[in-house]
């Protein structure tokens, strides 16, 4: 049963991801991106990482894509015309895809990966409570530094966009 669900959600995620890349209309692409994120979230649920699934929906499907849509709206992006592919781009992407394929096949067919499926570790930080405990003990310092990161980003946005008074 779980296997069946995995294949269904994986297929949805992949199909939507392809749709993001291939849709001409940027708004449609953003909408498919939401569906991709939802598919990913359901995969997380099946791995019993409920917290991650909720975050995936709230942050990515919610906030990030809404931001994308705002930018699309502000920039008034028109439907993209069919761009002509340069031969060099074509060759480069084919080579890139081939390397990716070799990598994925090589990694998934190695014995180490097969050995894992039987002995999955417990998802230690997967519940909200565990996550909170870890965040305020083990990861206390990175969390505080992240606070400064956000502060710097905020100051930066103001500095780079505020009108400077000429006096």
């Amino acid at each position: 049963m779980t296997d069946l669900f995995f294949y269904i959600f994986a297929a949805i995620t992949l199909a939507c991801a392809f749709a993001v890349v291939f849709s001409r209309n940027p708004v449609n692409a953003a909408m498919f991106l939401i569906l991709t994120f939802l598919g990913m979230a359901s995969l997380f649920v099946m791995l019993e990482a409920y917290f991650l699934a909720v975050i995936q929906v709230l942050v990515y499907a919610g906030a990030v894509v809404v931001l994308f849509l705002f930018i699309i709206m502000l920039l008034d992006v028109k439907e993209e015309s069919k761009a002509k592919l340069k031969p060099l781009t074509l060759v480069a992407s084919v080579i890139g895809f081939a390397i990716l394929l070799v990598g994925v096949v090589g990694i998934t067919s190695s014995d180490n990966i097969k050995a894992t499926t039987e002995t999955l570790p417990e998802a230690a930080g997967a519940t909200l409570k565990n996550f909170g405990y870890e965040l305020f003990t083990t990861y206390q310092l990175p969390m505080q530094v992240t606070g400064f990161l956000l502060l710097v980003a905020m100051i930066g946005v103001i500095v780079l966009s505020k009108r400077v008074k000429t006096d």
Partner: protein, 510 residues
């Protein structure tokens, strides 16, 4: 949650010894204080804020050097997040010193410009703290968070002259390249985490982003494909930050467009932080040295050659210094490779970094005092007759450039010499040869700068144009503080060339 887990988490929380990172905490608080002062102080007193920032940093630096030169609390802290050591203490002092110079450069180059000022100094302080934490990180989560804090700060500092299109262009390019390199680094970290957390493998652990645990895993599985891929990606991500070949493409444009203070910050502090991370990571990855050493050696040789050849044809001063910085990264990489077989070479790499700091800052201080509205446009022609117009700046430039070029008896020469000794001891003869060829090439463009500053420029249109507007002489904005900064950088370059005693024994005593 079971009680044992809670108890062990409590034990970890007990190792959160905030006192161990007091310099970074003070830097953070100082940054917040500067922002608060801008609100509190009346408008006419705002000019004092940069001075307060510099004073605070000088006091902190003085305290560390006098009372805490070896580091008060060396060892692992924060549940394995950071590891304090002599090296991290030396780098802490390095970043603080660089940050003082950067603050001074910003003070000079922001004069007569309509810009928000205070924020620049606050961000500089936060970035310095983040770089310092990056140098002592012992865990990929800590490393990445500190790196991102510094990088986000740099995005802003690079595009700070937003009326100037070159600065904005530089900011955009740095943003895109920085995001790309972060993505590569993160992907590498994820692969390593995935490989080392696999319970079916020997030496796996649940906390495999911790460097010690990762090293244990790599020792048990030195041929694991996933880990090798991860290592490759992590090294590539770091190579972006230090501007090593083939990830150096962003350097000329970003260095040229950024304000001169940011260029100095990127060239000195950001590069040093990259090398600190590289020194830590090469220890972690040493079980994979069959892959790691050829990779790093190849990068080092190509970086030296590329940096020097590309700098040959540059006439824009900041582009030239940026590309020469690429070749310095190559020399430092030779040092990092040598460290793998000659452990005491770590101190020699640090010495090179200090020599590079003093030489670069002397040059950047001179650049900041040249009369030009936007320093992105500074070219060799702007140095014309510098020595005659302002002898002090001319001599400072000559000594700074000489130290960067590695002319004896200046500090840069000793730095390069130590790196070559390390390479010789580690039997890296090919790298040694490439390094020497690199030095010979670099003499050409470094002396081009000295020639431009000391010999007369001969041109046809001089007379007519001069009569229109009285030319602004270089160095008119030079204050007592500026003279002190330049004298410190130049003096340091000379003294360390003759007499490495105090710094050398302090570094090797760490």
């Amino acid at each position: 949650m079971p009680t044992e887990t809670l108890k062990s988490l409590g034990d970890i929380a007990a190792t959160n010894s905030w006192g161990a990172i007091y310099p970074e905490l003070i830097l953070g608080c100082l940054a917040l204080a500067l922002l608060a002062l801008e609100v509190i102080l009346p408008k006419f007193a705002h000019g004092a804020i940069p001075r307060i920032s510099i004073l605070g940093q000088v006091l902190l630096l003085g305290y560390i050097i006098i009372f805490d030169p070896a580091g008060c609390c060396n060892g692992i802290a924060f549940g394995g997040m950071i590891e304090l050591s002599g090296t991290s203490q030396a780098l802490r002092i390095f970043f603080l010193l660089a940050s003082i110079f950067v603050s001074y450069l910003a003070m000079v180059s922001f004069e007569n410009k309509t810009l928000a000022r205070v924020e620049y100094f606050a961000i500089t302080l936060v970035v310095t703290g983040a770089l310092s934490i990056m140098a002592m990180s012992n865990h990929f989560v800590m490393l990445f968070v500190a790196l991102e804090t510094a990088t986000v700060g740099f995005y802003i500092l690079v595009s700070y002259f937003r009326q100037n299109t070159l600065s904005l262009e530089a900011g955009l390019k740095y943003l895109i390249m920085g995001a790309l390199s972060s993505a590569i680094l993160l992907f590498g970290i994820v692969l390593l985490y995935g490989a080392a957390s696999n319970p079916a493998m020997a030496g796996s652990s649940l906390d495999s982003m911790n460097f010690q645990n990762l090293r244990v895993f790599l020792e048990a599985n030195p041929t694991d494909t996933l880990s090798i891929l991860g290592m490759l990606l992590v090294i590539s991500g770091v190579a972006f930050k230090i501007g090593a070949f083939p990830f150096q493409i962003w350097i000329p444009d970003v260095y040229q467009g950024a304000p001169v203070s940011t260029t100095a910050f990127l060239a000195v502090s950001s590069k040093a932080a990259g090398f600190a991370v590289l020194l830590t990571l090469t220890k972690v990855f040493s079980p994979l040295s069959d892959w790691l050493l050829p990779l790093l050696s190849g990068i080092a040789a190509l970086t030296i050659l590329f940096g020097n050849f590309a700098a040959l044809t540059q006439r824009n001063l900041k582009r030239m210094i940026g590309l020469s910085g690429v070749s310095h990264a190559g020399f430092l990489l030779v040092g990092v490779v040598a460290v793998q077989t000659v452990p005491e070479a770590t101190n020699w790499v640090l010495f090179y970094l200090f020599a590079y700091l003093l030489g670069s800052m002397a040059v950047f201080c001179v650049l900041a005092h040249l009369p030009k509205e936007w320093d992105a446009d500074l070219s060799l022609d702007d140095l014309g007759d510098l020595a005659k117009k302002n002898g002090f700046l001319g001599i400072a430039l000559a000594i700074g450039i000489g130290s960067l070029a590695g002319i004896p008896p200046l500090a840069g020469f000793i730095g390069k010499f130590l790196i070559f000794v390390a390479a010789f001891k580690a039997e890296l003869y090919v790298l040694l040869g490439v390094g020497i060829v690199g030095v010979v090439i670099s003499i050409y463009y470094y002396f081009g700068v000295i020639k431009a500053a000391f010999f007369e420029v001969w041109s046809f249109t001089d007379e007519d144009e001069k009569s229109d507007a009285p030319a602004v002489l270089p160095g008119q904005s030079l204050t007592a503080l500026g003279r002190l900064a330049i004298v410190f950088a130049v003096g340091g370059s000379i003294v360390l060339g003759f007499f490495q005693g105090p710094l050398g024994s302090w570094l090797s005593g760490q």
